[in-house]
């Protein structure tokens, strides 16, 4: 399996009067098309590790490699560009722009990347949304959708620029059982059918078991990986 994401002795310390170590000396490698779940107790550093792997945060020590490229020397703009082209994010509280429609929210990353014409963007966004079963909700705004529907829109937005990796932070943390199962199935399909890497932080053991691999984090360290 081709390696897509690699962390090499990554540590993240929050500076302050009393420095707090969020992630401690973590090394891991994730391959293309893998569905990886990260589990651990609250405050164990799993979300912090996800932000480091997603290049939203920079490690205090160590390196993160994405698609064979060491990102440790990248500036803020380069990191933003890599996130735009190669990464997609799904958060617990969907984080859609409330004033924009479903279609516009999904088109947002494509518009920023600027590789497609407005017509192509619209066409692709409509296909993605329809694939997730929301073809009839295109013109609705996020507040007109249910929690599960919003999360599916967030997944469609994460898929917009055909990223190598989708990083999800507690994607089912705010959903009921049925909606959680639906989101888990979608992410599983994204990994296995579309050959995208999915890294998801979760408290949900059923969700975690659906993954190919579970990484357990305790006190910022990897306790188990397999």
């Amino acid at each position: 399996m081709t390696e897509v994401l690699r962390a090499e002795r990554v540590t993240r310390v929050l500076p302050g009067a009393i420095p707090v170590t969020l992630v401690r000396d973590v090394s891991l490698s994730i391959g293309r098309g893998e569905f990886v779940s990260i589990q651990g107790p609250s405050g164990s550093g799993k979300s912090s590790l996800l932000y480091l792997l997603g290049l939203l945060d920079s490690p205090s020590a160590g390196k993160v490699w994405l698609d064979g490229v060491d990102t440790s020397a990248f500036g803020e703009d380069e990191l933003a560009e890599v996130r735009l082209e190669k990464l997609g994010f799904v958060f617990q509280f969907h984080f859609l722009l409330p004033e924009f429609t479903v279609l516009e929210n999904v088109m947002l990353p494509m518009a920023r990347l600027g590789r497609l014409s407005p017509e192509e963007r619209s066409e692709r966004a409509e296909t993605l949304i329809a694939d997730l079963g929301l073809g009839d909700q295109l013109r609705k705004r996020p507040d007109q959708l249910s929690g599960g529907q919003r999360q599916r829109v967030a997944i469609a937005r994460a898929m917009a620029n055909e990223p190598l990796v989708i990083l999800a932070d507690e994607p089912t943390g705010n959903l009921d059982t049925a909606a959680s199962a639906n989101v888990q199935q979608i992410l599983s399909r994204v990994a296995h059918d579309l050959n995208r890497t999915v890294v998801a932080v979760t408290h949900d053991s059923d969700f975690a078991r659906a993954g190919d691999r579970i990484i357990r984090i305790v006190d910022g360290r990897i306790e188990s990986d397999g």
Partner: protein, 415 residues
């Protein structure tokens, strides 16, 4: 529509009332800037126009910038003896050899010149006396250097040539003394001469000081009355190009010897007053725009605070800090631009309304319209100032937005 602009518009419409108030602030600022600037420029131009049109462009007077040395000083220059209590050489006042000097100046291209002998006299009629300045003129030459001909309500300056005993006075003075066209009155000079003169013209300039205190007679008549035969005490010069007055005055002074004063030099004090007035007024009007800019700062700062989560989303998606900054700068530009457009319309209305207001300035006998100036430059200045204020007001919150660290927001939103 570009994405950043779309987001900026969405942000502003989400705080509709606040955005509208900021926009109105800018609009009023631009409108007042335009109106006040129009009035200032209008009054300044009006003033300069009056100055250039009514006053001589250059006046050669019977004075010297540097007093010529007395004969005794020349005779004993550098001597060991100091002489005190000397009486200067007595001369008839006025420009000596004014005819030659007049001819020399008249030969210059683009120059019109006329001699004037002015002095004090008293008009007497029906037991009433009124002190006036009499101006001895050559009517045909005076027409070339003064617009007094256009101010006549009866008779003309030329009528003086037909009647050597004629006098021209202001209508206000005539009313004061119960006089009218064709009436005769006595004129007494400081030399004690008394002559009877006939009114052959009445003028009305609208300026009380002129209409009540100035009178015109033939130059020869004035020379006789004031006892200054073959003298004029002023050479009044008008130029085709009034703005060449300063240089030409220097050239004339160096040739004729007497003091030649350009209209710019004569009005230097007034010009500096105008400059100070402009600085004060522009500062006050600009302050309105600065205050309006605080409104923009307020609305954009609020939006930045409210939309921190959206900013974090945009940055996590891959928006650069500069993309985020541009969104909020665009918000400032939208308010500044829309406010300016509305302000231009309001400003035009305000200027038009001010232009029809009649005022009665002190010292002017007729009501006049407020002098307004319609110029593109004042609009550009107003808009430029508004846009700079708006950009300045948007910059700080935009910079703050660009510095939002997505992880701080995302972590806070998920715990």
């Amino acid at each position: 529509m570009p994405l950043g602009l779309r987001i900026a518009l969405v942000h502003l419409t989400s705080r509709r009332r606040q955005s509208l108030m900021s926009l109105l602030g800018i609009a009023l600022g631009v409108a007042f800037f335009m109106a006040v600037s129009s009035l200032m420029r209008g009054s300044e131009r009006d003033f300069i126009e009056r100055l250039v049109d009514s006053a001589p462009h250059i006046t050669v007077s019977d004075e010297f910038r540097t007093l010529p040395p007395q004969p005794v000083t020349l005779a004993y220059s550098g001597g060991a003896v100091a002489l005190h209590g000397l009486k200067p050489k007595t001369e008839t006042r006025g420009i000596r050899g004014y005819r030659q000097k007049l001819a020399f100046i008249a030969d210059m291209p683009g120059v019109r010149v006329a001699p004037v002998l002015s002095g004090q006299a008293i008009l007497t009629f029906a037991g009433k006396e009124q002190g006036v300045t009499i101006n001895g003129v050559v009517p045909e030459l005076m027409a070339g250097v003064s617009d007094i001909d256009e101010k006549f309500v009866a008779g003309s300056l030329d009528a003086l040539s037909a009647d050597p005993n004629g006098i021209v006075i202001g209508r206000a003075l005539a009313r004061k003394l119960y006089l009218d066209m064709g009436d005769s009155l006595n004129i007494s000079s400081p030399t004690g001469l008394v002559r009877t003169v006939k009114i052959v013209g009445l003028f009305e300039t609208g300026t009380s000081a002129v209409d009540e205190n100035q009178a015109y007679v033939l130059l020869k008549r004035a020379q006789a009355l004031l006892g200054r035969t073959n003298r004029a005490n002023r050479l009044v010069i008008q130029l085709d190009d009034p703005y060449a007055a300063r240089e030409l005055a220097t050239a004339i002074e160096s040739q004729v010897g007497y003091r030649a004063q350009s209209w710019q030099e004569a009005s230097e004090n007034l010009m500096s007053v105008l400059l100070i007035r402009n600085i004060i007024m522009y500062s006050v009007v600009s302050a309105i725009l600065v205050v309006a800019a605080f409104g923009i700062f307020n609305v954009i700062s609020t939006v930045v605070m409210e939309k921190r989560r959206d900013i974090a989303i945009l940055k996590s998606i891959g928006f650069h800090a500069k993309d985020v900054r541009r969104i909020f700068l665009a918000e400032g530009a939208i308010i500044g631009g829309a406010g300016s457009l509305l302000g231009i319309a309001l400003g035009y209305g305000l200027i038009a309304a001010l232009g029809v207001v009649k005022i009665h300035p002190p010292g002017v006998s007729q009501a006049v319209n407020m002098p307004v100036y319609w110029g593109i430059d004042q609009i550009l200045m107003g808009v430029a100032f508004a846009m700079i204020s708006a950009a300045g007001a948007a910059y700080l919150p935009a910079r703050k937005a660009g510095r939002v660290h997505p992880v701080d927001i995302l972590r806070g939103g998920m715990t």
